[in-house]
Symmetry: none
Subunit: 233 residues, 2 copies
Protein backbone atom coordinates (compact mmCIF):
# COMPACT_ATOMS: atom_id res chain seq x y z
CA UNK A 1 0.00 0.00 0.00
CA UNK A 2 2.78 2.39 0.83
CA UNK A 3 3.97 2.11 -2.70
CA UNK A 4 0.63 3.15 -4.03
CA UNK A 5 0.39 6.01 -1.64
CA UNK A 6 3.87 7.22 -2.34
CA UNK A 7 3.22 7.01 -6.03
CA UNK A 8 0.62 9.68 -5.78
CA UNK A 9 3.34 12.12 -5.01
CA UNK A 10 6.81 10.78 -5.45
CA UNK A 11 9.29 11.81 -2.83
CA UNK A 12 12.95 12.29 -3.53
CA UNK A 13 15.44 10.41 -1.41
CA UNK A 14 19.21 10.64 -1.50
CA UNK A 15 21.24 7.74 -0.15
CA UNK A 16 24.82 8.33 0.88
CA UNK A 17 27.11 5.57 2.04
CA UNK A 18 30.60 4.50 1.12
CA UNK A 19 29.59 0.86 1.16
CA UNK A 20 28.11 0.03 -2.26
CA UNK A 21 26.24 -2.93 -0.85
CA UNK A 22 24.36 -0.78 1.58
CA UNK A 23 23.64 1.80 -1.08
CA UNK A 24 22.23 -0.86 -3.32
CA UNK A 25 20.16 -2.40 -0.56
CA UNK A 26 18.61 0.91 0.30
CA UNK A 27 18.13 1.99 -3.27
CA UNK A 28 16.36 -1.23 -4.12
CA UNK A 29 13.99 -1.05 -1.20
CA UNK A 30 13.22 2.61 -1.59
CA UNK A 31 12.45 2.23 -5.25
CA UNK A 32 10.19 -0.66 -4.46
CA UNK A 33 8.26 1.67 -2.20
CA UNK A 34 7.90 4.11 -5.03
CA UNK A 35 10.47 6.71 -4.10
CA UNK A 36 12.64 8.61 -6.49
CA UNK A 37 16.15 7.65 -5.43
CA UNK A 38 19.63 8.97 -6.10
CA UNK A 39 22.81 7.73 -4.53
CA UNK A 40 26.31 8.87 -3.71
CA UNK A 41 29.28 7.04 -2.24
CA UNK A 42 30.97 9.93 -0.54
CA UNK A 43 30.17 13.26 0.97
CA UNK A 44 31.47 15.40 -1.81
CA UNK A 45 29.48 13.59 -4.48
CA UNK A 46 26.49 13.71 -2.21
CA UNK A 47 26.64 17.48 -2.10
CA UNK A 48 26.84 17.69 -5.86
CA UNK A 49 23.90 15.41 -6.37
CA UNK A 50 21.91 17.10 -3.64
CA UNK A 51 22.25 20.52 -5.23
CA UNK A 52 20.62 19.35 -8.41
CA UNK A 53 18.27 16.72 -7.02
CA UNK A 54 16.98 18.61 -3.99
CA UNK A 55 16.00 15.54 -2.01
CA UNK A 56 13.33 15.71 0.64
CA UNK A 57 15.10 13.04 2.63
CA UNK A 58 18.79 12.22 2.94
CA UNK A 59 20.04 8.96 4.39
CA UNK A 60 23.55 9.71 5.47
CA UNK A 61 26.21 7.35 6.70
CA UNK A 62 28.19 8.82 9.54
CA UNK A 63 31.45 7.03 8.94
CA UNK A 64 32.78 7.93 5.55
CA UNK A 65 36.25 8.67 4.27
CA UNK A 66 37.01 12.19 3.13
CA UNK A 67 33.96 14.05 4.30
CA UNK A 68 32.17 12.36 7.17
CA UNK A 69 28.43 12.31 7.58
CA UNK A 70 28.29 15.03 10.17
CA UNK A 71 30.22 17.46 8.05
CA UNK A 72 28.28 16.49 4.95
CA UNK A 73 25.07 17.10 6.82
CA UNK A 74 26.27 20.48 7.91
CA UNK A 75 27.07 21.46 4.36
CA UNK A 76 23.77 20.09 3.13
CA UNK A 77 22.05 22.39 5.54
CA UNK A 78 23.88 25.26 3.94
CA UNK A 79 22.01 24.66 0.72
CA UNK A 80 18.99 26.88 1.16
CA UNK A 81 16.57 24.54 -0.59
CA UNK A 82 17.56 21.72 1.74
CA UNK A 83 16.98 23.51 4.97
CA UNK A 84 13.67 21.73 5.33
CA UNK A 85 14.92 18.34 4.22
CA UNK A 86 14.94 15.40 6.57
CA UNK A 87 18.28 13.92 7.44
CA UNK A 88 18.53 10.43 8.87
CA UNK A 89 21.94 9.22 9.92
CA UNK A 90 23.11 5.68 9.54
CA UNK A 91 25.43 4.44 12.20
CA UNK A 92 26.84 1.16 13.38
CA UNK A 93 25.57 0.38 16.82
CA UNK A 94 29.07 0.08 18.16
CA UNK A 95 30.35 3.27 16.64
CA UNK A 96 31.04 5.95 19.16
CA UNK A 97 29.74 8.75 17.12
CA UNK A 98 28.69 12.12 18.25
CA UNK A 99 25.00 12.27 18.91
CA UNK A 100 25.39 15.79 20.00
CA UNK A 101 26.99 16.86 16.78
CA UNK A 102 24.39 14.98 14.81
CA UNK A 103 21.48 16.64 16.47
CA UNK A 104 23.16 19.98 16.35
CA UNK A 105 23.04 20.05 12.61
CA UNK A 106 19.42 19.11 12.74
CA UNK A 107 19.41 15.39 12.25
CA UNK A 108 15.90 14.16 12.41
CA UNK A 109 16.74 10.70 13.54
CA UNK A 110 19.33 8.02 13.19
CA UNK A 111 19.25 4.41 12.28
CA UNK A 112 21.63 1.88 13.68
CA UNK A 113 23.17 -0.73 11.45
CA UNK A 114 22.67 -3.46 10.63
CA UNK A 115 19.79 -2.05 8.67
CA UNK A 116 16.49 -3.83 8.70
CA UNK A 117 14.95 -2.81 5.41
CA UNK A 118 11.35 -3.34 6.42
CA UNK A 119 11.65 -1.39 9.60
CA UNK A 120 13.44 1.42 7.86
CA UNK A 121 10.90 1.63 5.06
CA UNK A 122 8.10 1.70 7.52
CA UNK A 123 9.75 4.52 9.36
CA UNK A 124 10.34 6.51 6.21
CA UNK A 125 6.82 6.00 5.04
CA UNK A 126 5.58 7.23 8.40
CA UNK A 127 7.77 10.28 8.03
CA UNK A 128 6.23 11.32 4.76
CA UNK A 129 2.79 10.34 5.85
CA UNK A 130 2.96 12.70 8.79
CA UNK A 131 4.14 15.35 6.41
CA UNK A 132 1.19 14.71 4.16
CA UNK A 133 -1.22 14.91 7.04
CA UNK A 134 -0.19 18.43 7.85
CA UNK A 135 -1.83 19.70 4.69
CA UNK A 136 -4.84 17.53 5.33
CA UNK A 137 -8.08 19.09 4.20
CA UNK A 138 -11.05 18.91 6.49
CA UNK A 139 -12.59 15.67 7.51
CA UNK A 140 -16.19 16.48 6.96
CA UNK A 141 -18.17 18.52 4.46
CA UNK A 142 -21.74 19.56 5.05
CA UNK A 143 -23.37 20.76 1.89
CA UNK A 144 -26.89 20.89 0.57
CA UNK A 145 -28.61 18.10 2.47
CA UNK A 146 -25.51 15.95 2.48
CA UNK A 147 -22.93 15.22 5.09
CA UNK A 148 -19.81 13.81 3.53
CA UNK A 149 -17.68 12.17 6.11
CA UNK A 150 -14.18 10.93 5.52
CA UNK A 151 -14.27 9.28 8.92
CA UNK A 152 -16.11 6.36 7.46
CA UNK A 153 -16.24 7.20 3.78
CA UNK A 154 -19.95 7.74 4.04
CA UNK A 155 -22.53 10.17 2.81
CA UNK A 156 -25.55 10.99 4.92
CA UNK A 157 -28.83 12.30 3.61
CA UNK A 158 -30.97 12.79 6.66
CA UNK A 159 -31.74 9.23 7.66
CA UNK A 160 -30.07 7.47 4.82
CA UNK A 161 -26.41 6.72 4.96
CA UNK A 162 -24.32 5.18 2.22
CA UNK A 163 -20.77 4.02 2.39
CA UNK A 164 -19.02 4.70 -0.87
CA UNK A 165 -16.11 2.92 -2.49
CA UNK A 166 -12.89 4.85 -2.35
CA UNK A 167 -12.78 6.46 -5.76
CA UNK A 168 -16.40 7.44 -5.70
CA UNK A 169 -16.00 8.97 -2.30
CA UNK A 170 -12.88 10.89 -3.23
CA UNK A 171 -14.59 12.19 -6.32
CA UNK A 172 -17.63 13.40 -4.43
CA UNK A 173 -15.49 14.83 -1.67
CA UNK A 174 -13.32 16.70 -4.11
CA UNK A 175 -16.22 18.17 -6.04
CA UNK A 176 -18.09 19.12 -2.90
CA UNK A 177 -15.01 20.90 -1.62
CA UNK A 178 -15.43 23.54 -4.30
CA UNK A 179 -19.13 23.79 -4.97
CA UNK A 180 -20.28 25.42 -8.15
CA UNK A 181 -16.87 25.11 -9.70
CA UNK A 182 -16.44 23.07 -12.85
CA UNK A 183 -13.63 20.59 -13.14
CA UNK A 184 -12.54 19.02 -16.35
CA UNK A 185 -12.17 15.27 -16.42
CA UNK A 186 -8.46 15.73 -16.83
CA UNK A 187 -8.29 17.85 -13.74
CA UNK A 188 -10.24 15.33 -11.74
CA UNK A 189 -7.99 12.53 -12.83
CA UNK A 190 -4.95 14.56 -11.87
CA UNK A 191 -6.21 15.45 -8.45
CA UNK A 192 -7.90 12.23 -7.47
CA UNK A 193 -6.18 9.50 -9.39
CA UNK A 194 -2.74 11.08 -9.23
CA UNK A 195 -0.38 12.71 -11.62
CA UNK A 196 1.22 9.60 -12.98
CA UNK A 197 -1.70 7.28 -13.41
CA UNK A 198 -3.20 7.14 -16.83
CA UNK A 199 -6.72 6.00 -17.37
CA UNK A 200 -9.26 7.06 -19.93
CA UNK A 201 -11.17 10.20 -19.13
CA UNK A 202 -14.45 8.44 -19.62
CA UNK A 203 -13.70 6.53 -16.46
CA UNK A 204 -14.78 9.62 -14.61
CA UNK A 205 -18.19 9.43 -16.25
CA UNK A 206 -18.77 5.98 -14.91
CA UNK A 207 -17.97 7.04 -11.39
CA UNK A 208 -20.22 10.04 -11.73
CA UNK A 209 -22.97 7.75 -12.90
CA UNK A 210 -22.58 5.58 -9.83
CA UNK A 211 -22.54 8.56 -7.54
CA UNK A 212 -25.76 9.86 -9.03
CA UNK A 213 -27.26 6.47 -8.62
CA UNK A 214 -26.28 6.31 -4.97
CA UNK A 215 -26.77 9.83 -3.67
CA UNK A 216 -29.24 11.20 -6.18
CA UNK A 217 -29.37 13.20 -9.37
CA UNK A 218 -29.57 16.67 -7.95
CA UNK A 219 -26.01 17.27 -6.92
CA UNK A 220 -23.54 16.76 -9.69
CA UNK A 221 -24.14 18.74 -12.83
CA UNK A 222 -22.67 18.09 -16.23
CA UNK A 223 -21.32 21.00 -18.22
CA UNK A 224 -21.15 19.73 -21.70
CA UNK A 225 -17.77 20.01 -23.24
CA UNK A 226 -16.30 21.21 -19.98
CA UNK A 227 -16.70 18.82 -17.10
CA UNK A 228 -18.57 18.29 -13.86
CA UNK A 229 -19.40 20.36 -10.87
CA UNK A 230 -21.12 20.02 -7.55
CA UNK A 231 -24.07 22.32 -7.86
CA UNK A 232 -25.71 23.91 -4.86
CA UNK A 233 -28.46 26.50 -4.36
Amino acid sequence: MSAAKAAQQTHRVLVVDDDPDIVELLEYNLQKEGYDVRTATDGRKALDVAKAFLPELVLLDIMMPQLDGIETGRQLRDIPELRQAYILFLTARSEEYSEVAAFEIGADDYITKPIKPRALMSRINALFRREAQKADPGEKIEIADLVINRKNYSVNQGERSVILPKKEFELLFFLAQSPNKVFSREELLQKIWGADIYVLERTVDVHIRKLREKVGEGYIRTLKGVGYMFEVE
Copy 2:
Protein backbone atom coordinates in the same frame (compact mmCIF):
# COMPACT_ATOMS: atom_id res chain seq x y z
CA MET B 1 -3.44 21.59 47.06
CA SER B 2 -2.01 19.42 44.37
CA ALA B 3 -0.34 17.31 46.98
CA ALA B 4 -3.60 16.40 48.54
CA LYS B 5 -5.20 15.60 45.24
CA ALA B 6 -2.31 13.61 43.97
CA ALA B 7 -2.14 11.67 47.17
CA GLN B 8 -5.51 10.19 46.47
CA GLN B 9 -3.98 8.17 43.77
CA THR B 10 -0.23 8.32 43.66
CA HIS B 11 1.25 8.46 40.21
CA ARG B 12 4.62 7.04 39.33
CA VAL B 13 7.11 9.34 37.66
CA LEU B 14 10.55 8.47 36.36
CA VAL B 15 13.09 11.24 35.96
CA VAL B 16 16.03 10.68 33.64
CA ASP B 17 18.80 13.20 33.20
CA ASP B 18 22.55 13.00 33.30
CA ASP B 19 22.79 16.19 35.30
CA PRO B 20 22.37 15.27 38.98
CA ASP B 21 21.32 18.79 39.86
CA ILE B 22 18.38 18.65 37.52
CA VAL B 23 17.42 15.21 38.73
CA GLU B 24 17.43 16.42 42.28
CA LEU B 25 15.46 19.53 41.45
CA LEU B 26 12.79 17.55 39.71
CA GLU B 27 12.70 14.79 42.27
CA TYR B 28 12.27 17.27 45.09
CA ASN B 29 9.46 19.11 43.41
CA LEU B 30 7.65 16.03 42.25
CA GLN B 31 7.76 14.46 45.67
CA LYS B 32 6.45 17.65 47.16
CA GLU B 33 3.50 17.30 44.83
CA GLY B 34 2.91 13.82 46.10
CA TYR B 35 4.24 11.76 43.25
CA ASP B 36 6.09 8.53 43.59
CA VAL B 37 9.44 9.32 42.00
CA ARG B 38 12.37 7.25 40.76
CA THR B 39 15.42 8.60 39.02
CA ALA B 40 18.14 7.51 36.66
CA THR B 41 21.16 9.30 35.29
CA ASP B 42 21.47 7.55 31.98
CA GLY B 43 19.35 5.75 29.48
CA ARG B 44 20.39 2.25 30.36
CA LYS B 45 19.66 2.66 34.04
CA ALA B 46 16.39 4.29 33.11
CA LEU B 47 15.32 1.19 31.23
CA ASP B 48 16.18 -1.05 34.15
CA VAL B 49 14.26 1.06 36.58
CA ALA B 50 11.34 1.47 34.22
CA LYS B 51 10.89 -2.25 33.82
CA ALA B 52 10.30 -2.71 37.49
CA PHE B 53 8.74 0.61 38.35
CA LEU B 54 6.35 0.93 35.40
CA PRO B 55 6.07 4.69 35.55
CA GLU B 56 3.05 6.46 34.18
CA LEU B 57 5.16 9.43 33.24
CA VAL B 58 8.78 9.65 32.15
CA LEU B 59 10.70 12.90 32.07
CA LEU B 60 13.50 12.28 29.65
CA ASP B 61 16.47 14.40 28.84
CA ILE B 62 17.25 14.35 25.15
CA MET B 63 20.97 14.90 25.36
CA MET B 64 22.58 12.15 27.34
CA PRO B 65 25.80 10.26 26.90
CA GLN B 66 25.58 6.59 26.01
CA LEU B 67 21.95 6.20 25.21
CA ASP B 68 20.27 9.42 24.23
CA GLY B 69 16.74 10.36 25.07
CA ILE B 70 15.27 9.45 21.73
CA GLU B 71 16.69 5.98 21.77
CA THR B 72 15.79 5.50 25.40
CA GLY B 73 12.26 6.56 24.61
CA ARG B 74 12.11 4.12 21.78
CA GLN B 75 13.20 1.28 23.97
CA LEU B 76 10.80 2.32 26.69
CA ARG B 77 8.01 1.95 24.20
CA ASP B 78 9.11 -1.58 23.64
CA ILE B 79 8.09 -2.44 27.14
CA PRO B 80 4.48 -3.40 26.65
CA GLU B 81 3.30 -1.99 29.95
CA LEU B 82 4.75 1.38 29.06
CA ARG B 83 3.08 1.76 25.72
CA GLN B 84 0.49 3.99 27.35
CA ALA B 85 2.94 5.95 29.48
CA TYR B 86 3.53 9.62 28.91
CA ILE B 87 6.92 10.74 27.80
CA LEU B 88 7.95 14.36 28.19
CA PHE B 89 11.27 15.34 26.73
CA LEU B 90 13.55 17.86 28.32
CA THR B 91 15.60 19.91 25.94
CA ALA B 92 17.73 22.98 26.08
CA ARG B 93 16.15 25.80 24.20
CA SER B 94 19.06 26.12 21.85
CA GLU B 95 19.44 22.44 21.15
CA GLU B 96 18.55 21.39 17.66
CA TYR B 97 16.91 18.18 18.59
CA SER B 98 14.65 16.07 16.53
CA GLU B 99 11.01 16.79 16.80
CA VAL B 100 10.31 14.19 14.20
CA ALA B 101 12.04 11.40 16.00
CA ALA B 102 10.53 12.48 19.27
CA PHE B 103 7.01 12.37 18.01
CA GLU B 104 7.60 9.18 16.17
CA ILE B 105 8.22 7.36 19.39
CA GLY B 106 5.15 8.96 20.82
CA ALA B 107 6.50 11.85 22.78
CA ASP B 108 3.62 13.61 24.34
CA ASP B 109 5.25 16.95 24.81
CA TYR B 110 8.56 18.52 25.51
CA ILE B 111 9.86 21.02 27.96
CA THR B 112 12.64 23.45 27.25
CA LYS B 113 15.29 24.13 29.79
CA PRO B 114 15.91 26.02 31.92
CA ILE B 115 13.20 24.31 33.87
CA LYS B 116 10.76 26.39 35.83
CA PRO B 117 9.63 24.01 38.55
CA ARG B 118 6.29 25.62 39.24
CA ALA B 119 5.30 25.69 35.60
CA LEU B 120 6.42 22.15 35.05
CA MET B 121 4.54 20.84 38.08
CA SER B 122 1.46 22.59 36.90
CA ARG B 123 1.78 20.94 33.55
CA ILE B 124 2.28 17.51 35.02
CA ASN B 125 -0.66 17.89 37.34
CA ALA B 126 -2.78 18.93 34.41
CA LEU B 127 -1.63 15.86 32.55
CA PHE B 128 -2.82 13.50 35.22
CA ARG B 129 -5.95 15.46 35.81
CA ARG B 130 -6.83 15.09 32.17
CA GLU B 131 -6.01 11.43 32.40
CA ALA B 132 -8.35 11.02 35.33
CA GLN B 133 -11.16 12.74 33.49
CA LYS B 134 -10.80 10.73 30.36
CA ALA B 135 -14.06 8.92 29.84
CA ASP B 136 -12.16 5.93 31.00
CA PRO B 137 -12.23 3.68 27.98
CA GLY B 138 -10.19 1.51 30.26
CA GLU B 139 -12.14 -1.55 31.17
CA LYS B 140 -15.30 -2.35 29.38
CA ILE B 141 -17.06 -1.46 26.16
CA GLU B 142 -20.67 -2.32 25.49
CA ILE B 143 -21.55 -2.01 21.88
CA ALA B 144 -24.06 -3.61 19.58
CA ASP B 145 -24.76 -6.92 21.30
CA LEU B 146 -21.22 -7.25 22.54
CA VAL B 147 -19.63 -6.68 25.88
CA ILE B 148 -15.91 -6.35 25.55
CA ASN B 149 -14.06 -6.45 28.82
CA ARG B 150 -10.39 -6.00 29.18
CA LYS B 151 -10.51 -7.53 32.60
CA ASN B 152 -10.27 -11.02 31.26
CA TYR B 153 -9.87 -10.33 27.56
CA SER B 154 -13.28 -11.70 26.90
CA VAL B 155 -16.19 -10.84 24.66
CA ASN B 156 -19.75 -11.65 25.59
CA GLN B 157 -22.61 -12.08 23.18
CA GLY B 158 -25.64 -12.76 25.30
CA GLU B 159 -24.99 -16.29 26.45
CA ARG B 160 -21.83 -16.94 24.59
CA SER B 161 -18.50 -15.80 25.92
CA VAL B 162 -15.18 -15.99 24.16
CA ILE B 163 -11.75 -15.31 25.50
CA LEU B 164 -9.55 -13.76 22.88
CA PRO B 165 -5.80 -13.81 22.47
CA LYS B 166 -4.14 -10.53 23.24
CA LYS B 167 -3.67 -9.07 19.77
CA GLU B 168 -7.13 -10.03 18.65
CA PHE B 169 -8.61 -8.52 21.74
CA GLU B 170 -6.68 -5.29 21.45
CA LEU B 171 -7.69 -4.97 17.85
CA LEU B 172 -11.36 -5.46 18.60
CA PHE B 173 -11.17 -3.19 21.60
CA PHE B 174 -9.48 -0.47 19.65
CA LEU B 175 -11.90 -0.59 16.77
CA ALA B 176 -14.91 -0.74 19.08
CA GLN B 177 -13.64 2.31 20.88
CA SER B 178 -14.31 4.43 17.83
CA PRO B 179 -17.25 2.86 16.11
CA ASN B 180 -17.91 3.81 12.51
CA LYS B 181 -14.46 5.16 12.00
CA VAL B 182 -12.10 3.61 9.47
CA PHE B 183 -8.55 2.88 10.42
CA SER B 184 -5.85 2.05 7.96
CA ARG B 185 -3.76 -1.00 8.60
CA GLU B 186 -0.80 1.25 9.21
CA GLU B 187 -2.69 3.18 11.82
CA LEU B 188 -3.78 0.00 13.56
CA LEU B 189 -0.25 -1.30 13.65
CA GLN B 190 0.94 1.99 15.09
CA LYS B 191 -1.67 2.10 17.78
CA ILE B 192 -1.85 -1.55 18.75
CA TRP B 193 1.48 -3.04 17.91
CA GLY B 194 3.47 0.07 18.74
CA ALA B 195 5.31 2.74 16.87
CA ASP B 196 8.52 0.86 16.32
CA ILE B 197 7.45 -2.69 15.76
CA TYR B 198 7.44 -3.61 12.15
CA VAL B 199 5.30 -6.38 10.83
CA LEU B 200 3.61 -6.68 7.50
CA GLU B 201 0.33 -4.91 7.16
CA ARG B 202 -1.37 -8.08 6.06
CA THR B 203 -0.90 -9.36 9.57
CA VAL B 204 -3.86 -7.22 10.47
CA ASP B 205 -6.01 -9.07 7.98
CA VAL B 206 -5.33 -12.37 9.62
CA HIS B 207 -6.34 -11.08 13.01
CA ILE B 208 -9.48 -9.58 11.54
CA ARG B 209 -10.26 -12.93 10.00
CA LYS B 210 -9.95 -14.65 13.35
CA LEU B 211 -12.07 -12.05 15.05
CA ARG B 212 -14.81 -12.49 12.51
CA GLU B 213 -14.60 -16.20 12.98
CA LYS B 214 -14.92 -15.89 16.73
CA VAL B 215 -17.39 -13.07 17.27
CA GLY B 216 -19.23 -13.06 13.97
CA GLU B 217 -19.22 -11.36 10.61
CA GLY B 218 -21.50 -8.46 11.37
CA TYR B 219 -19.19 -6.17 13.27
CA ILE B 220 -16.02 -5.35 11.43
CA ARG B 221 -16.41 -3.89 8.00
CA THR B 222 -13.76 -3.71 5.32
CA LEU B 223 -13.37 -0.58 3.27
CA LYS B 224 -11.34 -1.67 0.34
CA GLY B 225 -8.25 0.37 -0.19
CA VAL B 226 -8.80 2.15 3.09
CA GLY B 227 -8.95 -0.09 6.12
CA TYR B 228 -11.28 -1.57 8.69
CA MET B 229 -13.93 -0.20 10.97
CA PHE B 230 -16.29 -1.38 13.65
CA GLU B 231 -19.69 -0.78 12.16
CA VAL B 232 -22.73 -0.27 14.30
CA GLU B 233 -26.36 0.69 13.68
